[in-house]
Symmetry: C2
DNA sequence: TTGACATATAGGATCTGTCCTATACAGTCA
DNA sequence: TGACTGTATAGGACAGATCCTATATGTCAA
């Protein structure tokens, strides 16, 4: 479970409510770590039970009370332990590749369509991530970024790089498919 | 649940036992769709209940009976429906990026180490996949491949492409980190 | 004024998948 | 002889995540 550590990581930057956390995550790590709202709250409860974080209840009249979560020393220790721990490589599930593996059975046209759609999605993703990166770079000049900011920005670059790789791979493949004629 | 469809896809090629299936999958789609043995058997039972596949029990003396699973018309229909269905893009979880996002807090050296290890893993993956591709290409000349074989080979190429992209991205990032001096 | 959106939390059901274990025997290698 | 690998299946416990729902109210725009 890495959501646990993601949360510790965010709370190490500043104390937050579950709501804040959700927003922050969807703005920064959502493209490689989508987080379910219910899961965030559940994990916060769990972390509190494990005494890795603590909660300060801030009374509010008009809304449910704000529960401000703050990381404890034990939590920081656990976070740092996790960061230094060896990371086992595990392949992730790619529904698209699974489909590509079998899509030949419904014909060349459908296969081409699948590839085209995928390329369009990758292009859109690259654009969205590129826009975010552009915005950040415009706001803060690269030379002023600290190590942490640089690495965070790098996760964006990673997404862009892979999106571009996907597009190139699709272009090659489509070219290859076009150049040949198969018996339908 | 795509394991269901992966299984239908394999059974559409030829009838198999759970054991065969497991072997086939680990030889072909494991790098983008790892499958747990227990899960395969459970899914086979489920597919049988749903009348998408049928089972023929082949008696064996020395071993548990072989349960040969065969796809039914309904199963092929479902498979083709799934293949043609629009594929929603969903980001997959990347534990490595999550770690990179936070690793700055334990220092430059540890961050570099994480990147180095990742690059080594990507290089190894590229090599393994490349070897498999090389072997296939040596056995069957490209010109003789049908559409389905070409697409299957393309899933390998996809893995290689992304591994290479990962390596390039890491090289860039490490260069960037080296050129700057941060206050530790 | 009606509906959408933001703030804020949380329970229930369910789904997928992982890990561990158990069973059973044949062949092979040291 | 004993340990390991291959063939073959399957149950139990559990983790992690998703989906849906419920609650409550303020603000802002159409």
């Amino acid at each position: 479970m890495s959501l646990k550590h993601a949360i510790l990581g965010f709370l190490a930057v500043s104390p937050m409510s579950g709501y804040d956390l959700r927003k922050r995550m969807s703005e920064s790590v959502a493209h490689f770590w989508p987080a379910d709202q219910a899961q965030i709250y559940r994990t916060l409860s769990q972390l509190t039970e494990e005494k890795l974080i603590e909660v300060e209840v801030i009374e509010q009249d008009s809304r449910p009370n704000r529960r401000l979560h703050r990381i404890l020393q034990t939590g920081e220790t656990e976070l740092d332990r996790w960061l230094a721990e060896p990371l086992a490589y595990q392949p992730d599930r790619e529904p698209f590749l699974l489909r590509l593996f079998f899509v030949g059975r419904i014909g060349l046209d459908q296969s081409m369509r699948l590839l085209k759609e995928r390329a369009a999605e990758a292009a859109e993703l690259a654009e969205v991530l590129g826009a975010i990166r552009g915005q950040i770079e415009a706001e803060v000049p690269m030379e002023h970024l600290g190590l942490e900011q640089t690495l965070r920005l790098a996760t964006l670059a990673n997404g862009i790089k892979h999106a571009e790789a996907e597009i190139e791979w699709i272009d090659d493949l489509r070219q290859q498919l076009k150049e040949r004629k198969w018996p339908t």
